[in-house]
């Protein structure tokens, strides 16, 4: 356990100056900043809407980009980034000749990737709330302060986090096994396209494809109110089919990866 915590600490220490780490913070910040600037400069068009509609518009703008495109790509990138740091420096051999159990090294790295994705999605929720409230203060015409959906946003992003774990675990293993960027990236991209198509055509079993999970997670949330009528309440169901599949894939790939690492020769 000690070796695991030391490995985790070292993961943070060595990656804190890399793009992989900073992307986790900058991505939500920049995206939400841009949407906020859009709202700030279009106060006249938006000022007649009720607080709830504003919040839905505001967070929806970010969520749509995130769920539909960015989150799967981001998971692919993070999985690559935490492994490539070792591939590039040729440090697998020294990591695996430390007096630390192999499972500690492996699971610390795995958890670190999970933490980065979690951090990003948490920041998405927090920045959404913060920037929304800030807009409400700066431009009282925008009635952001009339409505509160902090808890809902946290739930939505938590669901997105869970739905990304399947992709993250598969990509983590691919990036661990392959040195180059193109193979895991290419496979990830193709699977993601397949996921998009399966959701697009409303395939009943789209939920078995991990790469479709973030989109499905969003889709399942959109259906909670009828089109055309203004919703009065948003209900988030976190544990849907796709989230269960995502968690199952995550668990299976994590354990499989563990056995692969035990047996794998280090070049």
């Amino acid at each position: 356990m000690k070796g695991f915590l030391l490995s985790l600490q070292s993961e943070f220490y060595k990656s804190r100056k890399t793009l992989g780490f900073w992307a986790s913070i900058l991505l939500p910040f920049i995206l939400i900043l841009l949407v906020s600037i859009g709202f700030y400069t279009h106060v006249d068009k938006l000022s007649h809407g009720p607080g709830m509609m504003l919040w839905l518009l505001f967070s929806g703008a970010v969520l749509n980009i995130m769920g539909a495109l960015l989150l799967p790509m981001y998971a692919i990138f993070i999985a690559y980034s935490v492994n490539s740091i070792e591939h590039k420096a040729d440090t697998w051999k020294s990591l695996f000749s430390l007096p630390i159990a192999k499972w500690s090294v492996y699971s610390a790295k795995f958890l670190y990737a999970v933490i980065l994705v979690f951090l990003t999605l948490l920041l998405f929720a927090l920045f959404s709330i913060g920037f929304g409230d800030l807009l409400g203060v700066l431009k009282p015409g925008l009635k952001f302060l009339d409505y509160h959906m902090e808890w809902t946003l946290l739930q939505i992003y938590f669901k997105l986090f869970l739905s990304a774990l399947g992709i993250l675990s598969i990509q983590f293993l691919l990036s661990l096994l392959w040195t180059d960027f193109l193979k895991p990236m290419g496979i990830g991209f193709v699977c993601f396209i397949a996921g998009v198509i399966s959701v697009g055509v409303n395939w009943d079993y789209a939920y078995i494809i991990p790469y479709a999970h973030p989109m499905l997670a969003l889709k399942s949330m959109m259906g909670t109110h009828k089109r055309g009528t203004p919703p009065t309440q948003i209900v988030i169901d976190i544990f849907t089919h796709d989230v269960y599949v995502s968690l199952a894939v995550f668990a299976v790939v994590f354990v499989a990866g563990f056995f692969i690492v035990q047996k794998k020769s280090v070049k």
Binding site: Q9, Y13, A89
Partner: protein
């Protein structure tokens, strides 16, 4: 024995890279693991550290079975394999600091290591800007960080300038003599091993061809009489007729096996009496380099 292997074998596909290797590395030795490129040195080292799984044979480090005592063994081993494993986006100090976190070693030790390998000045420079020699020195500092009892170094002087090589050599000698360490060092350069090793193992095509103390290796090395004379070919024939064993003849000199001082004098007299002018005549130890070539070029039996 600090390292002891028995019948260690490793196949890479259908090719046997390491054949039934039985290493014996005693405590307090500098064991030179010598062999040409591609002989199986790095593979053997990776087997010793369990980075590769051996198909046959067993490995004991500090008289402990590797598989049952992996962490205990590795906590006493520092290693440098092939090119040093260094994070290019971190500075030299950060690289050591990162390893110090993993090994739970103090910051003070990091500074000591930096000054030991003379990188204090460049400690805060990104290692991607380091020269090959600096990287190699940082690699050695990383290997020494935990103050291990056994150092396994794979071609540690690669890329170092002559001064750097001498420093590393002196450092290793000091570690063994004063701190009771054991060093297992691989090289394809005999000259390097010759100057520091107490024990030597010679490997070629995955097979151990010689293992023993350095002085045993020197003992096999036969002394010669080196003669510079006119008409070397005829002189060689004359010596052969007089029951001397000629080893080598070329345009400028010939070599004969050394027997004794008196015999060397007799050779001189014989040549002079037969009208050959002897420009120089002296005893030479057959170069270990030549011996190394002889050993490694002999077809495997």
């Amino acid at each position: 024995m600090v390292i002891q292997t028995e019948g260690l074998t490793f196949n890479f596909g259908s090719q046997t890279v390491v054949k039934s290797l039985s290493l014996q590395v005693p405590e307090g030795s500098i064991y030179g693991f010598l062999g040409p490129n591609g002989a199986g040195k790095t593979t053997t080292i990776k087997l010793l550290l369990n980075l590769l799984q051996s198909q046959e044979g067993n490995i004991k480090l500090f008289d402990l079975d590797f598989h049952a005592n992996r962490q205990e063994i590795l906590s006493q081993v520092g290693s440098l394999i092939e090119q040093p494993a260094i994070y290019g986006h971190l500075t030299g100090r950060e690289n050591l600091q990162n390893r110090a976190i993993l090994l739970q070693v103090s910051k003070k030790r990091v500074d000591e290591m930096l000054s030991l390998v003379r990188l204090s000045q460049a400690a805060d420079k990104k290692t991607s800007k380091y020269s090959l020699g600096m990287k190699q020195r940082l690699g050695i500092a990383l290997a020494l960080l935990s103050d291990p009892k056994l150092l396994i170094l794979d071609e540690p002087t690669n890329g170092l300038d002559p001064n750097g090589i001498i420093e590393i050599r002196e450092l290793l000698k000091t570690l063994v003599a004063e701190h009771n360490k054991t060093v297992f060092i691989s090289s394809h350069l005999l000259g390097e091993i010759e100057r520091m090793a107490t024990h030597v193992g010679i490997i070629n095509n995955g097979e151990l061809l010689f293992q023993g103390e350095m002085k045993d290796l020197e003992a096999i090395s036969q002394p010669l009489v080196h003669i510079e004379t006119t008409n070397t070919v005829d002189a060689a024939n004359l010596l052969t007729k007089n029951n001397y064993t000629v080893i080598d003849v070329n345009d400028s000199y010939l070599s004969v096996t050394y027997q004794s001082k008196e015999k060397t004098g007799q050779i001189n007299t014989l040549l002079n009496q037969n009208g050959y002018t002897v420009y120089s005549i002296y005893k030479v130890q057959k170069y270990l380099e030549k011996l190394f070539l002889d050993i490694t070029q002999t077809p495997a039996k």
